[in-house]
Every structure is written in structure tokens, then in C-alpha cells.
């Protein structure tokens, strides 16, 4: 019995104030990363974004993705540009705020994969930057970092008490 208790104490992850500060720092810095990247995507032409997106065709990572970019995304860059701006702005806003953090970490992973598929084989790109970006979101998802100094931590008790669909979604997303 005592050996079992010792084992569980050995396995238990730390959850002290230092860990909470570290998780909040990780989440906020990741949010700031998205917030800083939303600035250079200027509508309505999205010229710079088009250049980077075009790398998926010039230096393909995955052939079907290159085809999708060439035939669907680039001809409609106005629409996809706005989707990108809104998604990245929401990622920045809600990761900093710590609201529905696990859901936004998943969205961040999806966005990182999309970006990586466009630029990973382009010259002068450092591929590890994108692997690290993906890892940041995995860490946020795994640790539910919004519960440390975030809106999730403050509002979760109220969501847990409520039986509405939105509250149930937010419990899962936080």
C-alpha cells in the first residue's frame, strides 16, 4: 500500500505556482506569436500571403495539397485571406485570454500543419521552427494551459454547474 502511494507520488506531475506561471507564459507567448503574424496579411489583395502560399506549388511538400492550393486557394485568395486573418486573430485573442484554450490549441495545430505544407521545402526556411510551433500547441492542449491565470480557470466552475450544450462544449474545450 505504502509502495503504491510512493509510486503515485513519483508519477504525479508538479502543479505548484511556478508551473502555473510557466503554463500561462507559454500560452500568452503563443497567442502573441499569432497576433504578430496577423499584421502583414493586408486585404484586399493579400499580396504577401499569396507569395508564401504560392510556395506550396513552387516547392511542393505534398502533391494533393499543392494541387488544392493552385486550383482552389490561390484563385480565391480574397476569401481564404480573410479566413486566415480571422482565424489567426481569434487564435491570438483567445490564447492570450485563455478562453476555450484546448479548442484553440487544436486550431493552432491545424493552422501550423497548413502553413508547414506550404513553406517547409522552400529555400532558407528553417523547418524546425514549424515543428516547434506545432509542439507549443501540443503542450497547451495537453496541459489545459487556459486554467492557469486564464478565463478557463475562472469560468470553468460555472460551466461545470450548467447543463447547456454551450457549457458542455466549453468544459471539453477548456
Amino acid at each position: 500500500m505504502s509502495q503504491r502511494k510512493n509510486e503515485s507520488e513519483t508519477d504525479r506531475l508538479p502543479s505548484g505556482p511556478g508551473v502555473r506561471v510557466g503554463l500561462a507564459f507559454l500560452r500568452i507567448v503563443t497567442g502573441l506569436l499569432w497576433m504578430s503574424q496577423v499584421v502583414w496579411k493586408w486585404p484586399p489583395t493579400f499580396r504577401t500571403l499569396s507569395t508564401f502560399t504560392n510556395w506550396a506549388v513552387e516547392y511542393p511538400v505534398l502533391k494533393p495539397y499543392a494541387w488544392t492550393v493552385e486550383t482552389i486557394i490561390l484563385p480565391n485568395i480574397g476569401v481564404f485571406g480573410w479566413i486566415t486573418i480571422l482565424l489567426e486573430a481569434c487564435l491570438g485573442a483567445f490564447l492570450i485570454l485563455g478562453f476555450a484554450t484546448r479548442f484553440w490549441a487544436l486550431v493552432g495545430m491545424g493552422m501550423t500543419i497548413t502553413i508547414s505544407l506550404a513553406v517547409l521545402h522552400a529555400p532558407h526556411e528553417w523547418s524546425w521552427a514549424y515543428y516547434m510551433m506545432f509542439t507549443l500547441h501540443v503542450a497547451i492542449l495537453a496541459t489545459a494551459a487556459g486554467r492557469a491565470f486564464g478565463a478557463d480557470g475562472v469560468l470553468r466552475p460555472a460551466w461545470l454547474r450548467s447543463k447547456s450544450r454551450i457549457a458542455r462544449f466549453l468544459v471539453a474545450a477548456s
Binding site: W34, M35, S36, V38, V39, K41, W42, P43, P44, I85, E88, A89, C90, G92, A93, F94, I96, L97, F99, A151, V154, L155, A158
Partner: protein
């Protein structure tokens, strides 16, 4: 306390994001823009004062200031989003400004909708 501080932060953010806009119009297009920006600056200063007053008041006064701050933040987010689609390149019409005010307006909305734990 927190709601009063947030109102203060929103007020100061509004003022800061309008600081890089020229005070006087250069051409006709700027006149329309400046009317809105000056209105934003005025609203931001007013909100900063409301935030300071709310800090000295009770929860009700703080909740009132939070609602005003939330409304102002939503308007600023909307203005930044609309401004993005124009040739205007001032701080009040940028995507990161939109992100900032989206965060503040959703944050304020969430906290004002959450029931007071004391009741």
C-alpha cells in the same frame, strides 16, 4: 476591482491606438476618417475616467463601467476590421488592433455574463 482595471485598460488602449493618426486632415478622405478617430479618442479618454471612478466604487459601478468598456472595445474591433479593407494604415485600423479589442470585448462579455459568486 478587476472590472474597473479592465475598463481603465480598454480606455487607455483606445487612446493609444489613435495616437499615430494626424490631428489635422490632409485630404477629403482623411476628414471622414479623422471624425471617427477623434470620436474614438474622446470615448477612450472618457472611458479611462470612468475606469478610474469605478475603481473607487462598488461592484455595481464596476459592472456598469465594464459594460461601457465592452461596448467600446467591440466598436473598436469592428472599426479595425472595417479599416483593414481600406488603404488607411493607422494603428486603429490594423489586424493586431482587431485582435486586441476582440480579446478585450469577449473577455468583458464573459466576465459580465458570469454570475457573481457572492450571490
Amino acid at each position: 476591482m478587476v472590472l474597473g482595471i479592465v475598463a481603465l485598460v480598454v480606455g487607455l488602449s483606445v487612446v493609444l491606438t489613435t495616437l499615430d493618426t494626424p490631428f489635422l486632415a490632409v485630404n477629403d478622405e482623411d476628414v471622414r476618417l479623422l471624425r471617427i478617430v477623434h470620436l474614438n479618442t474622446f470615448g477612450g479618454i472618457l472611458l479611462t475616467i470612468v475606469g478610474v471612478l469605478a475603481l473607487a466604487g462598488g461592484r455595481r459601478r464596476q459592472e456598469g463601467s465594464a459594460v461601457v468598456a465592452g461596448g467600446m472595445a467591440s466598436l473598436m474591433a469592428l472599426w479595425a476590421l472595417v479599416g483593414l479593407n481600406t488603404p488607411i494604415n493607422y494603428m486603429s485600423a490594423r489586424a493586431d488592433t482587431f485582435t486586441l479589442f476582440l480579446m478585450l470585448s469577449v473577455g468583458l462579455l464573459l466576465f459580465t455574463l458570469t454570475p457573481d459568486p457572492d450571490n
